[in-house]
Amino acid sequence: MILIVGGIASGKRTYVEQLGFDGGSVDEGVLGTAPVLVGLEELLREGPLSDDRFELLCAKEVVACIEVGSGVVPLDKGEREWRELVGRTVNRLSDRADRVVRMVCGIPVTLKGVHD
């Protein structure tokens, strides 16, 4: 599994396309059967993943998530918990990922694993 993280509009989707996945093979914010999940942060709005659902995520070919922790601590408690959950979930996923890529201005920077 390739884990892609990056800020809003950092080039995550374009990179998913470059990896060879078209729109039809991408689930958006829901845990479906497509090989790619974009929008992990939205999936986590419903709370932490069960172990089974986490394993489904690990079995994807690509998971992309917006990095949400690099700003001001939100005033709203629910937003703070969500932000914490997104960060912790991504850390667990990166442990399991073959490759971790961080998008910087459209450039895929490989943090773990090797570039194909």
Partner: protein
């Protein structure tokens, strides 16, 4: 050596910084910057305490300043872990009475205090914070805090031998090389 470990919220930066401190020396001091206040702060403090439990850190607490009693010669020969810049800045910038200090003066003071503190220990590991990238531009005291955290991290980075950003639990070196 001086190392700055930065990252966003819940990026894994504290866990990495603690591991680095453990690798640097068996003699470890933890400088706590967080004034307990409320349930969430306590949860966070408890989690960090549990993370450090295996590492045998002596703890000193400083609120709003880095200066205090000089370390013992033994402590000075080891590593100091400072976690984190954001809390340090909060406590230095915001008074309990709701007052806000002059940001430029706080920056210069904390920078000078850090230089003195860092000189007193063989190794210092600092946990910084990435807080300037959420696309919201605060014009109030939150904006002052964001700028001050960023500026102080830049000052500390300039004094550091190694600067590491932790992203998704994975560290990479922005300055120097990972050890």
């Amino acid at each position: 050596m001086i190392a700055l470990v930065t990252g966003g919220a819940a990026s894994g930066k504290s866990a990495y910084a603690e591991q680095l401190a453990c690798d640097l020396s068996p003699v470890r001091t933890y400088l706590a910057t967080m004034a307990p206040g409320g349930e969430e702060a306590q949860t966070r403090i408890d989690r960090h305490r549990a993370q450090r439990a295996g590492g045998h850190f002596a703890t000193i607490e400083r609120t709003g300043t880095l200066l205090g009693e000089a370390p013992t010669p033994q402590a000075a020969s080891g590593v100091l872990l400072l976690d984190d810049v954001g809390n340090l800045v909060s406590n230095a910038l915001f008074g309990a009475d709701g007052s806000v200090a002059d940001a430029g003066m706080v920056l210069d003071r904390l920078d000078a205090e850090f230089a003195q503190l860092a000189g007193a220990y063989a190794h210092v590991v600092v946990v910084g914070n990435e807080v300037g990238s959420d696309g919201v531009f605060f014009t109030d005291e939150n904006g002052t805090w964001v700028r001050l955290v960023g500026s102080l991290c830049c000052r500390i980075a300039a004094r550091s031998d190694m600067v590491v950003e932790v992203v998704a639990g994975v560290p990479y070196a922005a300055k120097g090389t990972l050890r």
